[in-house]
């Protein structure tokens, strides 16, 4: 990992839902400027919760960061309202409900409160397909088009750090490959740092510089993306390339050992 102060740093973060349900615990992770960082893990591992801890909760979520710190450019931002986080330059592409279904594509882009000048044109430039669909109600878009609109709208907010939750959810492999390329383009051309949550480890590790693996609300493993992709546990659990018996996800000890081994 690059040295110097990271753009985003989570330090021993704990998130509690409804005052009693602890969803993630002791999560520590860093995102350096200009990197693409992948956050992997199975269903319910706490990936979405971790992203929400960064992007902010609303009162009606009844969720809070109850321990630890989220620092963005050295400033504490945990438990700030979402619009304020967006104004600071962190924009989330959520897992579900990522567009306003009864607004047209163009209106979805206009609804943003961008940092600085409005950048709807940037969304059309990145995803020319959106320009053709301008007048279409977002609720009628296909899954791929909807993901493009969500990414485009997030980019039009003018982020420095883009949080993407489940880029590949419900999308055909070719579409996922294409969107992954766009993410790289977004990072390379616009200099936007990306934290990417994925179930699809090969796709995420294929474009990421660094990866974290979550299990049961904790980070159990992290490392260089290329090395992680080659790691035996990852291959077995997330790439499905098991040699013989599949081991239980609960074998956290195995992870702990691996984690020490990686340092």
């Amino acid at each position: 990992m690059t040295t110097g102060a990271p753009l985003l740093a989570l330090e021993q973060v704990e998130v509690t839902y409804h005052r009693v349900i602890t969803a993630v615990q002791g999560v520590t992770l860093k995102v350096a400027r200009g990197q693409i960082v992948a956050l992997l893990g199975t269903n319910g591992a706490g990936k979405t919760t971790t992203l929400r801890a960064i992007s902010g909760f609303l009162g009606l979520d009844d969720a809070r960061v109850t321990e630890g710190a989220v620092a963005y450019r050295g400033e504490r931002i945990e438990n700030r309202p979402p619009h304020e986080i967006t104004a600071r330059g962190i924009v989330l592409v959520p897992e579900r409900d990522k567009v306003f279904p009864n607004l047209s594509v163009a209106e979805n882009l206009v609804a943003n409160v961008p940092r600085g000048a409005p950048r709807a044109d940037l969304a059309y430039e990145l995803f020319p397909k959106l320009a053709e669909l301008r007048g279409r109600e977002a609720g009628y878009l296909s899954g791929g088009e909807r993901q493009m609109l969500a990414l485009g709208a997030a980019i039009a907010c003018g982020p420095e750090l883009l949080l993407v939750d489940e880029l590949s959810l419900g999308l055909a492999p070719v579409v996922v490959q294409d969107l992954a390329k766009r993410l790289q383009e977004i990072r390379d051309r616009l200099g936007i740092t990306i934290l990417l949550v994925e179930q699809n480890a090969p796709v995420a590790l294929g474009i990421a510089d660094w990866g974290y693996v979550m299990e049961n609300g904790r980070v159990v493993l992290d490392g260089d993306a290329a090395r992680l992709g080659a790691h035996q546990d990852i291959r077995e659990f997330y790439l499905g390339q098991s040699s013989g018996e599949r081991r239980s996800y609960r074998e956290v000890k195995q992870y702990r050992r691996s984690r020490r081994w990686y340092g």
Partner: protein, 308 residues
């Protein structure tokens, strides 16, 4: 309102009568539509039923008495100032009282509006007494009856009300469709979390909805007061507009117009052909009929009722 609706047809000529009834329906529907859009604006942006809408409308109408003495000799300025005060009062009510309720259960927010309504009624009696007042006189405006083709008549204030309703709806449609803040308001109504994540300040949007709602309600209240005088019973008119908004589906402005027409037509026709005493119950009868006939149609099909 009574003045406008009960305007007597000239002669017993059938055609004249039906034209007069149509005019009365149009006036009453305008009243319900202008008041009803306030319920719709707040409901569709924040999923809260504002049961203090009638009281807020009444407060805005009473403010006309204050601005009339403040701007004596400039009735239009007094009228405009009172309307703008309505906007400010609505936004202030949100920011001071309802803001705390955002994210609470919808029921808590609705109960808060009920309490607010009772409080406002008390304040109005304390400040302006329970006597009937005539802001039209204070402004120096007379309210002549205008003759319409076909022998029907309409009071000047009622005609102004119909035109104001048309202008208010045109303005609201344009605002919601073509302006940034209007589009943000629709976005916040569809998905408040996503709206906040796109940088939209929810409190700002909700305050705007409350402001616009009280502004349009206040216009209705002031014009009704110019036509028929002002007293605390105005709250009942505000309440009767609620079924109109509900019948049309609370989250749609077009629905509010349709609902207002249905309720107004039922009310005018039943008053005329059956019994004038029915006036105050008709909207609620229509509401019950509607609930029995197609309860699913009331709130549109795409959204659930229990989202904040």
């Amino acid at each position: 309102m009574r003045g406008a609706v009960a305007a007597q047809p000239r002669g017993n000529h059938r055609r004249g009568l039906s034209i007069q009834l149509a005019v009365n329906i149009a006036v009453l529907a305008s009243i319900y539509a202008l008041i009803g859009c306030g319920y719709v604006l707040i409901y569709r942006t924040s999923r809260v039923l504002n049961l203090a809408h009638g009281e807020l409308m009444m407060v805005a109408a009473y403010l006309l008495l204050a601005t009339a003495s403040l701007f004596s000799g400039h009735p239009l300025a007094a009228f405009a100032a009172s309307a703008l005060l309505g906007l400010v009062v609505g936004a202030a009510v949100y920011l001071v009282l309802m803001r705390k309720m955002t994210g609470e259960r919808v029921l808590a927010a609705v109960l808060a509006t009920v309490a607010l309504g009772i409080l406002l009624r008390g304040i109005v009696v304390l400040v302006w007494s329970a006597q009937q007042q005539y802001p039209g006189q204070a402004l120096g405006w007379s309210n002549p009856a205008l003759a319409l083709p076909g022998g029907a008549r309409i009071s000047a204030a009622a005609a102004a009300l119909v035109l104001t309703t048309a202008a208010a709806y045109a303005g609201l449609f344009a605002f919601l469709r073509y302006t940034r803040w209007g589009i943000r308001m629709r976005a916040a109504g569809q998905n408040p979390l996503l709206a906040a994540q796109r940088g939209i300040r929810l409190h700002g949007v909700y305050a705007l909805a409350w402001g616009l709602s009280t502004f349009t309600g206040g216009l209705a209240g002031m014009l009704i007061a110019l036509d028929a005088g002002l007293e605390q019973t105005m709250v009942v008119i505000g309440l009767k507009a609620f079924p109109a908004a509900l019948v049309g589906g609370l989250d749609s402005l077009v629905g509010a117009i349709a609902g207002a027409l249905i309720v107004a037509a039922a009310e005018v026709l039943l008053i005329h052909y059956v019994n004038p005493l029915l006036a105050d119950v008709v909207p609620f009868l229509v509401l019950i009929a509607m609930l029995l006939a197609r309860p699913w149609g009331l709130f549109g099909t795409r959204e659930e009722l229990d989202r904040v």
